[in-house]
C-alpha cells in the first residue's frame, strides 16, 4: 500500500477551549487524486486545511502529510496553498509576489524565474506580471494566488475557494487547471462552496458538517442509493395485475406530472437498464407514448443538503449554501 498524500486520524480542534471546530476528523487522500472538501460555513473545512498547512495548531492530531508528520517543514516545501480571500502585499507586482513566496518555499533563484514564467502563463497573467497587486481585480488576485501556490512545483495543492471572485470564463479555466494538475499526478484538496466544481473535477469528496466528516467517497459511491430510471409517458397507462406486479417488483412509483397532470412519471429505483425493459414493453403494449427514459442519480447538491439536514443543520449557513448551490448546481439528470 503506497503512502497516502494525506492520512489523518481523529483530528480535533477546539478554539479558546470552547468552540469545537473539528470533532475527530479522519480521512485519507491518495496521491494523485482531486479530493473535494465540502460543507456549510463553519463546518471546519478551512480549519482542517489550515491545520494541514500549520496556519492553525491542532488540539489533537495523528496522521501524515506526504508521508511525514503534519507540520513537518520538509513536507511543507512540497505543498502549495491558496487560502480563502488571499491578501498579498499591494506594493509588490505579481511577479514579485511569485518570487517572494517561491523563495519562502526554498525554490532556487533560477527555478523561480522559470517557474514564474510557466505559472503566469498557466493562469493567464503574463502581461500583468509587472503590475502592482494594488491594481489587480479580485479575479486577478485569485489567479496570482493560484500561481504562487504552484511556484514550488508542489506534490499536493490545497485550494480554499479558488474560484471565489473569478468570472465564469476564469472558473472554467481554473477547472481545466485542476484537471491538468490531476493529470500531472498532483494531489489536489479542493475546498469549495461551488458544488458543480467539485462534481466536475473531484474523484472523491468528503462532506463535513459541524466539524465531522459525514459522507466520504466517490460521487458514484455516495449517489448509488439514489440512482433510478425515470420514464415519462403520456396517454393511457397499462391496467391490470400484470402492470401492478411489475411496478411492485421494481418498487417503482407512478406520479402524475405536467401542467394538466396529463402525463405520468414512472420512477424505478434501479441503475440497470435491463430491469426497466418490461415496463417499457408494457407501456408500448398499452399504446402509451413514451416521451423520455432517463437514468438519474442525486446531484452533489442534493447529497450535500441531505447530509446537512440529516445533521440537523439549519439556519443561515445552510441557507447560504443552498443559495450558492442553486447558482452553481448542475441539476440531477446526467
Amino acid at each position: 500500500m503506497t503512502a497516502a498524500a494525506i492520512d489523518l486520524t481523529n483530528v480535533e480542534k477546539t478554539y479558546r477551549g470552547r468552540i469545537r471546530a473539528l470533532r475527530g476528523v479522519s480521512m485519507r487522500v491518495e496521491k494523485g487524486e482531486v479530493f473535494g472538501l465540502l460543507g456549510p460555513n463553519g463546518a471546519g473545512k478551512s480549519t482542517l486545511v489550515k491545520i494541514l498547512t500549520t496556519v492553525v495548531r491542532p488540539t489533537r492530531i495523528s496522521g501524515t502529510l506526504l508521508g511525514a508528520p503534519v507540520g513537518d517543514k520538509a513536507a511543507l516545501a512540497r505543498v502549495g496553498y491558496l487560502p480563502e480571500n488571499p491578501r498579498f502585499p499591494e506594493y509588490l507586482t505579481g511577479g514579485q509576489v511569485l518570487d517572494l513566496f517561491a523563495a519562502m518555499a526554498k525554490v532556487g533563484r533560477a527555478d523561480r524565474k522559470r517557474r514564474a514564467a510557466e505559472t503566469l502563463d498557466l493562469v493567464g497573467m503574463t502581461s500583468w506580471a509587472s503590475t502592482r497587486i494594488g491594481r489587480y481585480s479580485k479575479g486577478m488576485r485569485q489567479r496570482i494566488g493560484l500561481a504562487q501556490a504552484l511556484m514550488n512545483d508542489p506534490e499536493i495543492v490545497f485550494l480554499d475557494e479558488p474560484t471565489d471572485g473569478v468570472d465564469p470564463v476564469g472558473r472554467r479555466e481554473i477547472r481545466e487547471m485542476l484537471i491538468r494538475m490531476r493529470d500531472e499526478g498532483r494531489t489536489v484538496l479542493l475546498n469549495s462552496h461551488l458544488l458543480s466544481e467539485a462534481e466536475t473535477v473531484c474523484g472523491r469528496v468528503a462532506i463535513m458538517v459541524k466539524g465531522q466528516v459525514v459522507r466520504l467517497g466517490t460521487l458514484d459511491d455516495l449517489t448509488r442509493h439514489s440512482r433510478r430510471y425515470e420514464i415519462e409517458a403520456s396517454g393511457a397507462l397499462p391496467a391490470g395485475d400484470g402492470w401492478r406486479t411489475l411496478i411492485q417488483q421494481l418498487n417503482a412509483e407512478v406520479r402524475a406530472v405536467g401542467e394538466d397532470r396529463d402525463r405520468s412519471l414512472i420512477v424505478a429505483p434501479t441503475d440497470e437498464a435491463a430491469a426497466v425493459q418490461p415496463l417499457l414493453d408494457a407501456l408500448r403494449a398499452s399504446r402509451a407514448t413514451i416521451r423520455s427514459v432517463r437514468p438519474v442519480r442525486a446531484s452533489l447538491e442534493e447529497l450535500f443538503i441531505e447530509s446537512v439536514q440529516s445533521m440537523g443543520e439549519e439556519g443561515a449557513g445552510v441557507g447560504g449554501q443552498k443559495g450558492r448551490a442553486k447558482h452553481g448546481g448542475k441539476g440531477g439528470a446526467l
Partner: protein, 385 residues
Amino acid sequence: MTQTWALFVESYRHLNAKKLFWIALVISGLIVAAFAMVGIDEEGLSILVWRLPIPVSTAILSADVFYKLMFLNLGVTFWLAWGATILALVSTAGVMPEFLAGGAVDVTLAKPISRLRLFLTKYAAAMLFVGLQVGVFSTASFLVIGLRGGSWEPSVFLSVPIVVVFFSYLYSVCTLLGVVTRSTVAALLLTMLVWLGLFAVNSTEAILLMVRTQAEQSVQWLEGDIASREQALAAAEDEEPKEGILNTLKSGMNSNKKEAELATRKTQLEDARKELRTISIWQNSFVGVKTALPKTSETIGLLERWMVDMADLPAFNDGGDDGSTRVRYDGGDRELPIPQDNEAVERAVIEKSRARSVGWIVGTSLIFEAFVVGLAAWIFCRRDF
C-alpha cells in the same frame, strides 16, 4: 538564507513604496546640507557668505568639534532620535498588523519556515528603515565633518548601530502591541505613549541626578567650611588674649559670632545631609526603575561620549563672572550663603552620566527589548490565524 533574504528584500520594497521613507531621506539630506552651509572660523559663525551675530568662534570651539556637536545635537539628538524616529514608527507600525491580517499571514505560515524565525526576521527587517536612514545621514555627515571641519571621523558611523538599537527599543513595544491588537493605529499611539513615559522617567532621573549632585556639593562645601571655621576658632582660642577691656569685648563678640555662624553651618549641614538622603533615595529609586526600562536618552548620549572628549566640550558659563552662582540658603534667620558652582555641578553630572557603563545602559535596555520581543514572538507562535 533564501527565505531570510527574500523577507529583507520584501521589507525594502515595502519601504520603497512608502512616501514617508523618501520624505525622511529628503529631510536628512536637507539637514546635512544645512550643516555644510554653516561655517566657523576665528571671526565667528557664518551661513554661506553671511556672518551670524553669535559669539562662537574657533577660539571657543575647534571646527571639527563644532561640526561634531552640530551632528550630535541637531542631527542625532533632534533629527534621528526624534523626527526620523517618529517617521520610522509611523512607517513601520503597520508591518506586523498588516502581516497578521487574514489571508496575508496564511500563505507565509504555510511555507517551510519556523514561526519564530519568520517573526524574528520580519522584526529585524523592519529596522531597515532606520538603518538606511541613519546610514545615509551618517555618510553625508562624515563627508561634511571631514570637508568642512577638517577631521575625518569614522566614529560618526557609530550612530548607525546606536540609533538602530535606540529605535529597536521602541519598535519592540510597537511589535508587541501590533501582535496583540493587530491594529496599526493602536500600536502606534500606544508606542508613542510608552515613549513619552520613558522620556518622563529618564528626564526625572536626570533632574534628580542634577539636584543630588548639587546637594552633594553643598554637603561637601559645608563640611569643608565647618572644618576651616573650627580650625579658625581653635586657633583664636590658642592665641594670647589682647589686653584691655575693649579688645577683650571685641574678641569675645567675634568669637561668639563665629561660633554662632559655625552652629548655623552645622545646622545647614544637617539639613543638607537630610536633603541629600531624601534626594538620593528618590534618585536611586528612579535608577532602579530605569534599570528595568530602555534607556533611550542615554543610549543616544553614548554617541557624544564616544565622539567628543570632556576636554573638548566648551566651558560652561551659566553663572557669574567666575562661572559660579551664589545661591542664598533659605534657612529663615540663618542667612549664610552656600556657594553653588553650576559649572562644576554640570560637569559632575556629565561625568557621572559618562561613568555609567555601556553594559548597564545598552545591556539592560536590550534585556527589556528581548523580553518584549520574546513575549510578542510567543504570542505569534501560539496563535491560530
